[in-house]
């Protein structure tokens, strides 16, 4: 299995990552190589095998719906790239 340029560009878009020309070329090579490694799984017989998503087979713990978080807005916004009046700023989304 190998990937071409358009595959790499599509994956980069899904991951929302800008890649330059050199990186696209590099990843076309490298990702194909890594996919070959991943393809080794195909040979394994996994009929009747349950997928394992958690090593201890634990179920999700529930807690009562109470507020436990304290308000850290100022501390959190102090490290934000751009804030104004307590809001996080991003480029205009709606014209």
């Amino acid at each position: 299995m190998s990937l071409d340029r358009s595959d790499v560009e599509k994956i980069a878009h899904l991951a929302r990552m800008a890649l330059d020309e050199a990186q696209v070329n590099l990843y076309v090579q490298e990702l194909s190589h890594i996919l070959t490694l991943m393809e080794q799984l195909k040979a394994a017989d996994t009929d009747d095998i349950e997928p394992m998503s958690h090593p201890l087979h634990m179920t999700q713990r529930l807690r009562s719906d109470e507020i436990t978080e304290v308000n850290c807005r100022e501390e959190n916004q102090a490290i934000a790239p751009q804030v104004e009046n307590g809001l996080y700023l991003v480029p205009q989304v709606i014209e």
Partner: protein
């Protein structure tokens, strides 16, 4: 003072031979003198360290000291530290000052430990050589032209060079054990869920586990005691009692069954490393343990399984880094999509991007069943291998890494060759089992690590075995001559 273990230093502190402030000064000076070459520590906090040392001295004088009070440690830079930069080795978080402490950090502070600073690491813990860090590679104190291993390479190198008495690490596919092996120290990856992941920046959530790194099993036992335990803030934290890890260190090994997986001694293992490992296993035999050959027939599936599961989980975890609320933001974004794409494209390094790409692909429409679901099934096969082996034996042993430390830059051009470094360590993460690496006889002056894998929550057994071994041998006491 830097040659002493936690146990020895703790006794000295409580006897009044020296104070924690003196001890802390000593290590701060060592870091100033030696870190330039090694690059193990990327943020130092000397003022905070001295304040913590002063507080520890007061506790010691008041007779309220615990075994870790006043002992200097470095935290892997993956753990959030309140008011201190927490970069995770990435440009993405180069400007991130954490607003809170990780549970591990809080617990070790609570035990009176003195934090000297933050240890270098592979970017977002993705790497086996500590060469993917935004802050440059760490050099192995045993040979500065070689890598220290990764991803907890800064932690391992700091302890090996005696710039700290202990360090925290994290292990997703071998990131505590492999650098511990390559740097000649003792490192433990506990059972999945044993130590809280709260405030530990996530890489692959079903595999990540934090653990201690130090000179000996005795020291690691004290550190694990402070780190382990249930934490309501981590939804995967195990609600299991924490035993007294120091109490069983001296238990007899008479009749204990050690399983040697034939798959861990085959092709790909360096011959000199194999000899060193076998010599060490004979020490265990002389201590009364019985050696049994076992088989982990699906071992060959561990690396490919890992390189589906870990990137898939990483691509999901790292989607939070979007340039909006914290971390790196690109200059002059023209719209929101441009902001996301360039912030991530510029903020992440090559290896992190590579893994995000792999994971995104494996989870994308039409490929989920072929890769992620398939890997979850092969993960089950790997886990079942261990289950069967532990019906016959008490512990499994083998090499931690296939060879001694390799040269800087040697494997950077070939990701797949780099991934094969973790061939013996990855399976324990996939199964969620505890694993420990301790030093054995070096090869050509370079450290070699023996790996012990235990059953779930059998950390005390691994520490018991290692301690008995370290009572008989001196390899864990070796340190690089230049660092003496």
């Amino acid at each position: 003072m830097h040659k002493k273990s936690i146990i020895e230093l703790g006794a000295g502190l409580r006897a009044g031979d020296f104070s924690s402030v003196e001890l802390t000064h000593h290590f701060i000076q060592r870091i100033e003198r030696m870190n330039g070459d090694i690059n193990a520590i990327i943020t130092t906090t000397p003022e905070q360290a001295l304040a913590e040392a002063q507080a520890a001295d007061q506790m010691i004088q008041a007779g309220q000291a615990g075994p870790l009070s006043g002992i200097p440690i470095v935290q892997k830079d993956i753990f959030c530290t309140r008011g201190v930069k927490t970069s995770c080795g990435s440009r993405m978080l180069d400007n991130f000052i954490s607003p809170y402490d990780a549970t591990v950090v809080e617990k070790l502070k609570g035990a009176g430990m003195v934090s000297l600073g933050k240890a270098n690491m592979d970017e977002f813990a993705m790497g086996s050589s500590n060469e993917t860090s935004f802050y440059g590679p760490v050099r192995n104190p045993w040979d500065k032209s070689r890598v220290p291993g990764g991803s907890s390479g800064g932690s391992a190198a700091a302890v090996a060079a005696r710039m700290a008495v202990a360090a925290t690490g994290t292990d997703t596919g071998g990131s505590i054990r492999q650098p511990a092996a390559l740097c000649g120290i003792t490192g433990l990856k506990p059972t999945y869920g044993r130590v809280s992941r709260f405030g530990m920046i996530a890489f692959a959530s079903s595999l990540d586990q934090a653990g201690p790194m130090a000179q000996s099993a005795e020291d690691v036992a004290l550190l694990l005691q402070a780190m382990a335990g249930f934490d309501a803030k981590d939804s995967t934290s195990a609600n299991q009692p924490v035993p007294d890890y120091s109490a069983t260190l001296n238990d007899s090994l008479e009749g204990l069954k050690i399983g040697l997986p034939k798959e861990y001694f085959g092709e790909g293992l360096d011959a000199s490393v194999a000899t060193s490992i076998k010599t060490a296993i004979d020490v265990y035999k002389s201590l009364g343990a019985e050696l049994v050959e076992v088989s982990l027939p699906n071992s060959h599936l561990a690396v490919p399984t890992y390189y589906v599961v870990a990137p898939a989980e990483c691509s999901s975890n790292l989607s939070r880094f979007d340039g909006v609320r914290f971390g790196y933001r690109c200059e002059q974004p023209k719209d929101l999509e441009d902001l996301y794409k360039r912030s991530r494209g510029e903020g992440f390094g090559a290896e992190v991007k590579r893994r995000i790409m792999i994971g995104t692909y494996a989870l994308s429409a039409g490929y989920y069943d072929a890769y992620y679901l398939k890997a979850q099934k092969t993960r089950h096969l790997i886990s079942d291998d261990f289950k069967q082996a532990f019906e016959k034996v008490d512990v499994i042993m083998g090499p931690t890494a296939p060879a001694t430390a390799f040269g800087l830059g040697e494997k950077m051009d070939d990701p797949v060759t780099m991934y094969l470094n973790d061939i013996y360590t990855i399976a324990a993460n996939l199964a969620g089992l505890p694993g420990l690496s301790h030093p054995v006889a070096p090869v050509n002056g370079l450290p070699v690590g023996l790996q012990l894998i235990g059953n779930y929550f059998a950390e005390a057994k691994l520490l018991n075995l290692t301690h008995r071994f370290q009572q008989e041998t001196q390899w864990h006491r070796l340190m690089p001559e230049e660092m003496a």
